[in-house]
Amino acid sequence: MNIYEQQASNRRTTVFIMAVFVGFFLVIGLGFDYFYLNFTPAASAAPVLGADGYYEASRGQAQNIPFGTIIALLVGLGLTANGFFNGARMVLRSTMARRAITANEKEQIFLNVVREMATASGLPEPAAYIIPDPDLNAFATGTSPANSVIAVTEGLLASLNREELQGVVAHEMGHIRNYDIRLMTVSAALMGAIALLSDFAGRSMRYGGRSSSYGGSSYGGSSGSSGSSSRRGGGGGAALIMFVVWIVLVILAPLISRMLAMAISRQREYLADATGAELTRNPKALISALEKIRSAVMPTNAINNGVAHMCIADPRGSLIEEKLGFTADLLATHPPMEKRILALKVMSYQAANPQA
C-alpha cells in the first residue's frame, strides 16, 4: 500500500467511523423510544374515524414524538463534530501537554528537529508539545497537516540523542502525512464519548429501571391505549430479544470501540516507521530509539487508555506488546516492537546494500 492509497483509505475509514458512531446513537435513541416511551412508528399512522366522518391520524398518537431518537441523533452529530474539530485539543488536554519553549536547551533542539522534519517532508511545521512524564513516549494529533501537533514526553527528550529524536519525530511526521492523525484523533474523541455514555446508560438503567416501567405504562395509558397494549401483548418475545440486544450493545460499546481503535492503529505503525526511515534516510537512529523506548517498561502515567493507540509505543507498559498470538492480536494497540525493529533492520540493510 503506498501513501496515497493509505491517505484515501484513512479518509474513508474516518468517515465510516463517524457514520457508525452516529448510527450507534440512532440505535440507542430508537431503543429508548421503543422500550421506555413505547413509541411505535407503525401505530402513529393508524387512521381513526374522526368525529366529522373522516379518517385522520389519531390525535393521541400524533403527539407521540420520538424524542429519544431526535435527541440521540443531535447528540451523536454534535459529539462527532466536536470530536473532529476539538479532538486534538481534547487529547492534548487529557495528557496535560504544554507547548515547547525555546528557553530550554532540550526543547529548543526538539523544536529544531520538528522544523527539520517538516522541511524533509515538505509539509507545514507542526506545533511542538511536551508531555510532563518521565516515561518515553510520543504521539501526533490534529485533523490535517496544516494544523497538526507532535507531542513527546520529557523522559524522551532527556534520554534520546538528537538523531534518535529525529527518528521519532520523523515517525510522527509519517502519521501526519498519511492522515493517520485525523483517524486516530477522531476515534480517540468518539471512544471517550462512548465510554462516558455507556457509563451514564449503565447507571440510569440500574437506578431508573423500576420507575420507568411504571412511567412507561402510565404514558401508554394516557396516549392511545389500544396501540401500546396490543404491541405488548403480541410481540412480547421479539421485543424481549431486541431489548437484550440493545442492552448488550450498550454494555459492550466501549469494548467494541476500543478493539476497533486497536485494529486500525496497528498496521499504521509499520508504515509510519517506514516513512520515518524515508525522511531521515537513517533507519538505524529510529531502531535505537525504539530499543530505548522498549527498555523503558514503565507505564506512561500522563497518557490514559483512550489515547493509547496514538502513541509510538503502548503507554501501558510493554507487556502485551511482546506477546504474539491471538490475545495480542485482539488487545494490543501496537505491533510487537520485535517485528517493527526487524522491519527497520531489513530496511537499513537494503539501504546499505542496494544490489542485495
Binding site: 529548543q108 533542539i109 529544531n112 522544523r115 515538505g122 538528537r162
Partner: protein
C-alpha cells in the same frame, strides 16, 4: 460519430489532467529550490557569529577558522553571481570547512561548556540538517517531476506543452564535499 466525439473528449480531459499535474509539480520544484536558498542564506548569516564566539578559545586553529571565513565569502559571492554550478561547488566547500570546524571543536571542553557556543553549535547543526533535508526534498520532487514527464505516453507531448526536466541538486564530481572530513587529533 458519437464514439469519435467521446474518444476526443477523453483525450482532451487526459491532456488537461496531465498538464495541470505537471504545472503543480513544476511549482513545487521551484518552491523546494527556494527553500534550499533560504537555508543557505541562514547559514551565511550564522557563520560570522560562530567564528566570533569560538575565536578566543580556538586560537591554535587559525587556519581552520580562516578557511571557513574564506569559504563563506566565496559562497556568498557565488550566490550573488547566480550560476548554479558555481553555487554548488562553493557551498560544498563551505559545508566541508564547517564540518571540520565542528569536528575540531569537540576537542575543546571549554567550548562545549560554554552556553552561548553550545547554542550556536546547535543552531549550526540545525541549519546544516535543514540544508540537507531541503536538498533531499528538492531532489525527491524533481525526481517525481522528471519521471512524470518521461513516462509513456506523457513523453510524447511533455516538451510540446513546454515542460523540461529539472536538474537534481547534485555535487560536482570533484567536489570537496565528497571527501571524508580529515581530522588530525595529534596535538
Amino acid at each position: 460519430m458519437t464514439i469519435l466525439a467521446i474518444v476526443l473528449l477523453a483525450l482532451a480531459a487526459y491532456l488537461v489532467f496531465t498538464f495541470n499535474g505537471l504545472v503543480k509539480l513544476r511549482n513545487q520544484v521551484a518552491n523546494a529550490f527556494r527553500q534550499i536558498d533560504v537555508q543557505l542564506k541562514r547559514r551565511h548569516d550564522l557563520i560570522p557569529n560562530l567564528v566570533e564566539s569560538v575565536k578566543g578559545e580556538m586560537k591554535f586553529e587559525k587556519e581552520t577558522l580562516e578557511r571557513v571565513i574564506q569559504a563563506r565569502a566565496a559562497a556568498v559571492s557565488a550566490g550573488q553571481g547566480g550560476n548554479t554550478g558555481d553555487i554548488l561547488a562553493k557551498e560544498g566547500m563551505l559545508t566541508q570547512a564547517l564540518g571540520r570546524l565542528m569536528a575540531i571543536s569537540e576537542n575543546y571542553p571549554n567550548l562545549k561548556a560554554n552556553e552561548s557556543v553550545k547554542k550556536l553549535m546547535e543552531e549550526l547543526t540545525h541549519t546544516e540538517n535543514q540544508i540537507s533535508f531541503a536538498r533531499q526534498f528538492y531532489n525527491d520532487v524533481v525526481t517525481k517531476f522528471n519521471t512524470d514527464q518521461q513516462v509513456f505516453p506523457t513523453n510524447l507531448f511533455a516538451a510540446m506543452l513546454g515542460f523540461t526536466p529539472s536538474a537534481l541538486w547534485e555535487l560536482p564530481a570533484d567536489s570537496p564535499e565528497r571527501e571524508n572530513v580529515k581530522v588530525n587529533l595529534a596535538v
